[in-house]
Structure formats: structure tokens, C-alpha cells
């Protein structure tokens, strides 16, 4: 942004501030507050009209009022039906006068009541606010405003939109404003040429909303020239959308794969490396998710400002908690059962029942709320209709980081060396001075700990309930076995190929049939390669 433009924004801001100062608007204030009072109505129809009236005042104080209404912060007091903007503070609401912007006291939950809106009004409000914030100094707000104006499609916005466009410097915002302009022109202009031009302009934007608009125009007009032009543009937009949809599908597949990978990777250690058929693996994931919940509770109560960091604390916490539980399980139960892998199935199944019930006893059977930090909420929405949600992106990256870390531990550390030594030849490892008991315990702890941090990640996309683990255990075993037991690389490739296969099947076969096909696929695949994707070959197999 140039210095000049910065200056011009500052100037505008100054004007706005000056304009909103109540002193200069005393005469105006009464009328405005009267109109604001009309917002207090039970009838949604009347409320809609009242909103229009508030907008029509052109008063800058209207923006905070309408925003409050949109966010559910506009209340009326039961005693005198006065309308207030409120802010929740503990158990009471702080009341602000909408016309003066001054705080004038507080009210309890019983004394004040929210002015409710519905989706139609919400759309109306957003459009109106869009028009009013098109010239906001904040580029992000202007971008949002431009999108809201596009959606509202209100011809009354045309004027202000054009004005805002002249002033706009930011490329992205300008593009969005142009899109909104073209949309309004296409829908409401009388002149055919303008409409045809608008179709062409919209053709540059390949997003589903444009497609929706074009569809609407095609259905709504009788003008053949317009229909032809819109249809042509639409097919362009749609074909481009279709090819982006494949990218989207791939992303979804990779994302599902990363979830499977996270769920399975701990099992790849306890089951794949140690040979323990660990039916309580899912419960380790669940414990990780509950640890996240606990950590977030602490943050909510003591450091609400740092909530975004809660997951970073939850990761080591979950690793520690599940790792310790893992050690306890290994020392208490599993070590007595080495060499009897099927009996570990029995014992760990019992254990999983007990762990679920413990959680149920302590936290209750209902879902616990685990929040998404702001950097994991929302999505990258490209202008091509492709939506990449942040939580999925983070989970993909996280799963890869986990597997990389594991690879490093297994190959580059002393512990990794000992771990491999013990699992390959226990007696030999013992005779070389490795305390195999401890290596077992730590290996199991590592697997459990990894399951725990997987729980942190899964808490971001799934229920946090005592049943969390159960829903992943079967998939985890499928992934490990499909990839080849004892092979981390196999687990990685297995998880992603199952995820992608599932997601590419889903649009054609539906979610249920898609999953069935994947399962049948696994069964057939195992016929072809009875030891999974990355099986060891040669003599070692028989051992």
C-alpha cells in the first residue's frame, strides 16, 4: 500500500470518528434512538422493517447496533423495554446505550432478554452491514463485506459498491467487489448489454456461488441471448470446478488417510513391532483426547487468553499420561503374556472395557467439549470452490511429523536400536547387556504415547466420548495389517492408500458401500499378498 493510500484511509477514518461523535449529533440522536427502539419486536416481519429503517438512517451508530443484533448481543430490558447492546461479564450483562455508546449499568439474565433473529434476517443484516462496511479501514472487513454484498444481491448496494470500488486499492478485495458488482448488475440491470458484460466478468470467477447465480439467471430469464451466454460461461465454470473437485477429493482422501495413520501408528508399534494384539489401543487414543479436554479446561479456567496454545500443552501432556498408563499396562499385565499373543488379546480387551468404564465413571458418558484453537478453525477457501479446512491441513502435517519422528527414533537413537534388537532376538539382546524388560516397557509406552497424541489430534474432528477409541480400533488394525505388520513405512502407505481409495469411491458408491468396497478390497488384497503391502521376503518370514 502506498503512503498516499494509507493517508487517505487515515483521513477517512478521521472523518468517520468526527462524524460519530455524539456531541455533533444531539438533534439526530433522539430520532435514531427512537428507530432503534423499534427493533424490540417479537414479529420477525416487523423486525425486518425496523432493520431497514435503522439502515436508512445512514447513521454510523447503526453499525454497532446491527452487529450486536447479528451476534445476539442486542437485548431489551424487561422492565422498561429499552433496547441495549450488551456484553456478558460473568453472570450479568453490561448494558450499553445504542445511541450514546455509553455504559449505563448491568442486568441479570432474568432482567434482560435477547432480541432473536432468524436466518432470513441474518442474511438481511449481513447484506446491510456489508454495504456499510465496504469502506471500512480494515481490509479483512471489506473483503467480508464484498462477499456479503454478493450474497445479498441487493440493487440498492450498487451505488455504494461503485464508490467503494473507486477507492479500493487492495487487489483481492477489489476482485471480490467486482464480482459482487457483476452479480448485482447481472441480476438487476435492465440493459441487456450490461447483463451480458456481467456474465463475461463473472466467467472469470470459477466458484460454486457464481455457478449458482448463473443457474438462477438461466432459469429466470427469457432472453435467449442471455441464456446462451450464461450457459456457455456456466459450462466453463463447471468444468473448471469439476477439475478442482478432483483436487479436493484427493485432499479429502489424504486427510482421511492421515486420520487413519494417526490412529494406527501407535498400534504399528505395540502390535507391529512388539506383537502385542493390543485391543486397548483405541482407549489410549481416547485417553489422549480426554487429556486434551482436561488441559483445555485448565486453560479455560485460568488462562482463557492463551487458549490457542492449549493444544501445544496437550500434546506432551497426552504423551506423558498415555505413556505412563502404557508402562503400567506393560509392567502389570502384558509382560506376563509375552509369547502368548492371543492371550494379550483377551487381557487387553478386558482392559479396554475397564478403561472405558473408568472414563465413564469420572467424566460421565456424554461428549466433552474440546475446542478448536483459532488457527485450526475455518478453511482456506480458494476462488475455485476448493475448500481446505485448517484442522485437516494441520492433522495431515501432524501425522507426517509423527511418523518422521518415529522413523528417527527407530533408526537414529540408542533406544531405537535396542528396541529393534530386543524385538528381533531377545536372548541375544539380553546377553549383550540390554535390559529387555525396560526396553519392552518403554516401547509399549512409546506406542501408547503416540496413540495419546493421536487422541489430541482426533479430538479436533471427532466426539470426545468414552466410545471414541472403539470407533478407530478396527480401522487401525486394518491399516497395520494392510501395510504389513512391523513396517512403519507400510503403515504410512497403507493409511494413505486406504484413505484415498475410500474417498474416491465415496462419491460413486456412497459412504456405506464405499466402506464395504474398501473392506472387500482389503480381504482380496491380503489374498494376493498374505503378509501385507510391505512384507518381508525370504527365509526370515518363517521364523
Amino acid at each position: 500500500m502506498t503512503i498516499l493510500s494509507k493517508f487517505s484511509w487515515l483521513a477517512l477514518f478521521a472523518v468517520l470518528v468526527a462524524f460519530t461523535a455524539p456531541v455533533q449529533n444531539v438533534a439526530h440522536a433522539d430520532e435514531f434512538s427512537k428507530i432503534v427502539q423499534t427493533l424490540n419486536t417479537k414479529s420477525k416481519k416487523k423486525l425486518g422493517k425496523a432493520i431497514d429503517a435503522v439502515v436508512a438512517t445512514g447513521d454510523e451508530r447503526a453499525v454497532p447496533v446491527l452487529e450486536a443484533l447479528l451476534e445476539g448481543k442486542l437485548f431489551y430490558r424487561k422492565t422498561d423495554n429499552q433496547v441495549f447492546i450488551t456484553e456478558k461479564s460473568g453472570k450479568v450483562y453490561l448494558l450499553t446505550d445504542p445511541s450514546t455508546g455509553k455504559e449505563i449499568g448491568e442486568a441479570t439474565r432474568k432482567e434482560a432478554k435477547k432480541i432473536g433473529i432468524n436466518n432470513r434476517l441474518r442474511g438481511q443484516l449481513k447484506g446491510a452491514l456489508g454495504g456499510m462496511t465496504l469502506m471500512s479501514p480494515d481490509a479483512e472487513k471489506r473483503l467480508k463485506a464484498a462477499n456479503d454484498v454478493f450474497k445479498a444481491g441487493d440493487p440498492a448496494m450498487l451505488k455504494i459498491l461503485k464508490k467503494a470500488l473507486l477507492r479500493e486499492e487492495d487487489g483481492t478485495v477489489k476482485e471480490r467487489m467486482n464480482r459482487a458488482l457483476a452479480a448485482i448488475e447481472l441480476e438487476h440491470a435492465k440493459d441487456l448489454q450490461i447483463r451480458l458484460l456481467a456474465v463475461q466478468k463473472l466467467g472469470e470467477y470459477t466458484d460454486p456461488e457464481v455457478a449458482a447465480l448463473l443457474n438462477k439467471i438461466i432459469a429466470g430469464t427469457k432472453d435467449e441471448q442471455l441464456i446462451a451466454s450464461a450457459t456457455e460461461t456456466l459450462s466453463d465454470v463447471e468444468s473448471s470446478l469439476a477439475s478442482w473437485a478432483i483436487v479436493g477429493n484427493l485432499f479429502q482422501g489424504v486427510s482421511l488417510g492421515s486420520v487413519l495413520l494417526l490412529a494406527a501408528v501407535g498400534l504399528a508399534i505395540t502390535f507391529g513391532v512388539m506383537g502385542v494384539i493390543n485391543m486397548a489401543h483405541g482407549e489410549m487414543v481416547m485417553l489422549g483426547a480426554y487429556t486434551t479436554f482436561m488441559v483445555q479446561e485448565v486453560f479455560r479456567n485460568y488462562f482463557p487468553g492463551a487458549f490457542d496454545w492449549s493444544l501445544l500443552v496437550a500434546l506432551p501432556a497426552a504423551f506423558l499420561v498415555t505413556g505412563l498408563v502404557g508402562i503400567a499396562i506393560e509392567r502389570g499385565i502384558i509382560r506376563w503374556l509375552y509369547g502368548r499373543p492371543l492371550e494379550t488379546l483377551l487381557a487387553t480387551w478386558g482392559l479396554s472395557l475397564v478403561l472405558q468404564q473408568i472414563i465413564r465413571s469420572f467424566f460421565g458418558p456424554t461428549n466433552q467439549e474440546v475446542g478448536n484453537p483459532s488457527w485450526m478453525s475455518g478453511a482456506i477457501e480458494t476462488s475455485t470452490g476448493l475448500v481446505l479446512t485448517y484442522n485437516r491441513i494441520w492433522i495431515i502435517l501432524f501425522s507426517l511429523a509423527v511418523i518422521a519422528l518415529l522413523a528417527v527414533i527407530a533408526r537414529r537413537t540408542m533406544f531405537g536400536l535396542q528396541m529393534r534388537a530386543v524385538t528381533q532376538n531377545r536372548a541375544m539382546a539380553n546377553s549383550m547387556g540390554i535390559r529387555s524388560g525396560w526396553v519392552d516397557a518403554l516401547t509399549f509406552a512409546l506406542g501408547s504415547g503416540i496413540a495419546g497424541i493421536a487422541g489430541v489430534a482426533l479430538s479436533q474432528i471427532d466426539n470426545v466420548s468414552p466410545n471414541l477409541g472403539q470407533s478407530y480400533i478396527i480401522d487401525s488394525f486394518m491399516v497395520v495389517v494392510f501395510g504389513g505388520v512391523g513396517n512403519l513405512w507400510g503403515t504410512l502407505v497403507g493409511a494413505f492408500s486406504l484413505g484415498i481409495a475410500n474417498k474416491f469411491m465415496e462419491p460413486y458408491a456412497g459412504a456405506v458401500l464405499g466402506k464395504i468396497l474398501v473392506l472387500v478390497g482389503i480381504i482380496l488384497f491380503i489374498q494376493k499378498r498374505p503378509r501385507g503391502l510391505f512384507a518381508l521376503k525370504g527365509r526370515a518370514v518363517e521364523a
Binding site: F271, I277, M279, I333, W336, L337, R340, P341, L342, E343, T344, L345, L346, A347, W349, G350, L351, S352, L353, V354, Q356, Q357, S361, Q470, I474, F477, M478, V481, V485, V512, L513, K515, I516, L519, V520, I522, I523, L524, I526, Q527, K528, P530, R531, G532, E542
Partner: protein, 389 residues
């Protein structure tokens, strides 16, 4: 070494003969006490108990079938619930057709759930199930056929160990999802229910209950003898050989896959029979029977009772299910601790299951010797010793 006659060999197994005797006795006694003793009497067995025991017995047969493949042939099937459920569905379909126009919509052919999903005609795979004989055939054939196809592929490809276990899980899981689908025409999640009668006998009558109990008890005894016959034959020794050293058996010229296939199919058929007896007694069959967790539970009954013995799984199924009934009623909030704890403690302290434990077996032995002396004080042969050649 001379092999003793079959029946003598069974008597040789004290625990087994005790349990089987008990089973045979109750097969007659329980229905009699239910039907012919007045409800006021302390000896009366209420219908509730009759069906409950009947249900346990079908589970016992199911456990027995798992033990045949797992305990003797080393094939850990984590999908046996599927065969059980298929047998159950076959029986359920028959009873569904038997409802006829007594359903809520009064359609003479279509089951209620089809009417209400607006289906116009019966899907082809429902044909024939109105015939009891055909349904019985399907009870045997459908699980058997699935086991045959699945086993044919899996054993020929030499899928073994956990790989096999996991694909059996995948099989039952896939079937679970498939049967959940309403489009499949098996009643979706609700499954089949609202049964009225079999062969004209009202399912709710005490006589029918007692008969079903009797049949279940007989089925367990029958299943026991079938399994006993198999494992005592040379084929039984071959499958144990396969369990212990598969490649040795192969290099001796045994086609391991055929042997595995044989016991797998037999076992699936037994499981199917169990399912068919189960459904009329509980009154509902739905896809949750396919749930992978159910199949794992069956394995646990076997492990708890003692695998590789034929009587162990029967005891295991009865004990675990009785415990479940008791705990879910008496301690509804904490019964999972009890059950989970039971599984953990048994594995740690009774590694061979209940029947494998010396002291219990020993106490049964003492009990039997006392009984024997009392019955025939003079010439009761000590079957433990080899007869002199």
C-alpha cells in the same frame, strides 16, 4: 496302542461327561419343571429362565464352533459372529414369511418393513423361505457357503495368523455395514422381529419355549459329538498337526488348505445352527450380531473356558454370559469393571482357561471317583491306564 471305542473315550474325559450329563439331564428336567410343576412350587423353573438358559446354550454351541477352528486348527477367526448371524437371518426370514398377513399392514407376502419402505414385490433372495425345509437348508448352506468361499481364497493364498484374523474381522464388519443398509432388504438396523410362530406353534407359548430349550441343549450335545468325532479322528490329529507345525504337515503331503477349509466350513455350519436356534428364543435378529466386537467376545468365551478342549468353550460361554446377565442386573453401573477384570485375571492366573486349571479338574476327578465307587464299587475300569496289549 489300541484306540478305545468312541463312547468310552468320552467317558474318559470326566469333566466332559459330567457337563454333558448335566446338559442331558437339564434338557429334560428344565422343560419338565417349567411345564408340569405349578408356578407356586419352589421347584418351578420360570419361562424367563428357560429362554435365558436356551440363549446361553446357543452361545455355547457357537463357542464350540470357534474352538474347533481355533483350539484345534489354530485358525483364530474373529468373524464367527457373521456365520452365527447368517444362520439367524435365515431362520428369521422364515419366521418373517410365516407372519403372512398378520403383520401391521396386513400384506400377505411382504414383510412389514418392505411395505413401509414402499417395496412392491419380494426380492428374489426371499423366495423359498416360506418353506421350513428350505429355510433349514439355508441355515446350513449360507454360513457354510460363505465359509467355503472365504476359506477357499484365504487358505489357498496361505493367509495365516493375525492376517487371517484381521480379514475375518473385515468380513464380518463389511457384512455388518451391508446389513445395516436398508436397500439390502433385510430390515436394516432394526433387522427382523415381530415373529409369531414356527410350523404353526406359537413362539410365545411355554411349550414352544421348552422345546426350543430342549433343542438347544440337544444341539450342544450334538455339536459336541460332531466335534469330538472330528478331533478324535485322524483328521483331528492332522488339524492339530497343522496348528502346531503347518509347514511340516505340508511337507508330509497334506493339503493344509483342504483341511482348514473342511473344519472352517463345519465350524461355520455349527455356528449357523446356533444362530438359527438363537433367533426364535430372543425374538430379534439384527445387524449388530455382525459387530466385530461380538466376534471377539466369542473368542473370549473360548479362551476363558479353555481352548483346545471341547468342554472348555461350553463352560466359558455359560460362565461369561451368566456373569453378564447377573452383573448387568445387579451392578448396572460397574459391571464392566467386573467383566473386564474377569478377563484380565483369567489370562493372568488361569492361562489355560477354567478347564485347564489343575485344581478344578482335580476336584472334578475326585468327585467322579467317589461317584463311581458308589455306583459300581467293584469293576470300574481305570481308563487312565493303557489297556495291556
Amino acid at each position: 496302542m489300541i484306540r478305545q471305542p468312541f463312547i468310552l473315550r468320552i467317558l474318559q474325559d470326566r469333566l466332559a461327561s459330567f457337563i454333558l450329563g448335566l446338559l442331558l439331564l437339564s434338557a429334560f428336567l428344565v422343560p419338565a419343571l417349567n411345564l408340569y410343576v405349578s408356578p407356586e412350587s419352589a421347584l418351578h423353573v420360570p419361562s424367563y429362565v428357560v429362554t435365558l438358559l436356551g440363549k446361553y446354550l446357543t452361545y455355547a454351541l457357537l463357542a464350540l464352533s470357534v474352538d474347533l477352528v481355533w483350539g484345534y486348527c489354530g485358525i483364530l477367526s474373529l468373524g464367527h459372529g457373521a456365520f452365527f448371524a447368517l444362520g439367524g437371518y435365515a431362520m428369521g426370514m422364515h419366521m418373517m414369511r410365516q407372519i403372512g398377513d398378520r403383520g401391521v399392514y396386513g400384506d400377505p407376502v411382504l414383510p412389514d418393513f418392505m411395505v413401509f419402505l414402499d417395496w412392491k414385490e419380494l426380492p428374489w433372495y426371499w423366495y423359498g423361505f416360506d418353506n421350513f425345509g428350505f429355510a433349514l437348508l439355508m441355515v446350513l448352506l449360507v454360513p457354510g457357503l460363505l465359509a467355503f468361499i472365504f476359506g477357499w481364497f484365504a487358505f489357498r493364498s496361505r493367509v495365516t495368523g493375525v492376517y487371517l484374523s484381521i480379514i475375518t474381522q473385515a468380513m464380518t464388519y463389511a457384512l455388518l455395514l451391508a446389513f445395516f443398509r436398508n436397500d439390502m432388504g433385510f430390515g436394516g438396523n432394526n433387522g427382523l422381529t415381530d415373529f409369531k410362530d414356527i410350523l404353526g406353534f406359537d413362539l410365545k407359548s411355554d411349550g414352544m419355549r421348552a422345546s426350543l430349550f430342549f433343542l438347544s441343549a440337544m444341539a450342544v450335545i450334538f455339536g459336541y459329538f460332531v466335534c469330538k468325532f472330528i478331533v478324535e479322528s485322524r483328521l483331528g490329529r492332522v488339524i492339530i498337526a497343522i496348528r502346531d507345525a503347518e509347514s511340516r504337515a505340508r511337507f508330509l503331503g497334506y493339503r493344509v488348505e483342504y483341511y482348514k477349509l473342511f473344519v472352517f466350513v463345519v465350524s461355520a455350519v455349527l455356528a449357523g445352527i446356533a444362530g438359527a436356534l438363537y433367533v426364535p428364543q430372543v425374538g430379534i435378529i439384527n445387524p449388530s450380531e455382525f459387530a466385530p466386537a461380538n466376534s471377539i467376545e466369542i473368542v473370549i468365551w473360548v479362551a476363558l473356558g479353555g481352548r483346545g478342549t471341547l468342554i472348555g468353550p461350553i463352560i466359558g460361554a455359560l460362565v461369561v454370559n451368566y456373569a453378564k446377565t447377573y452383573f448387568t442386573g445387579a451392578l448396572p453401573e460397574i459391571w464392566l469393571y467386573m467383566l473386564g477384570g474377569l478377563f484380565i485375571l483369567t489370562t493372568l492366573f488361569l492361562p489355560k482357561g477354567i478347564t485347564g486349571t489343575e485344581s478344578i479338574a482335580q476336584s472334578f476327578e475326585n468327585y467322579r471317583l467317589k461317584l463311581a465307587r458308589w455306583l459300581r464299587p467293584h469293576d470300574f475300569p481305570d481308563l487312565n491306564k493303557e489297556p495291556a496289549e
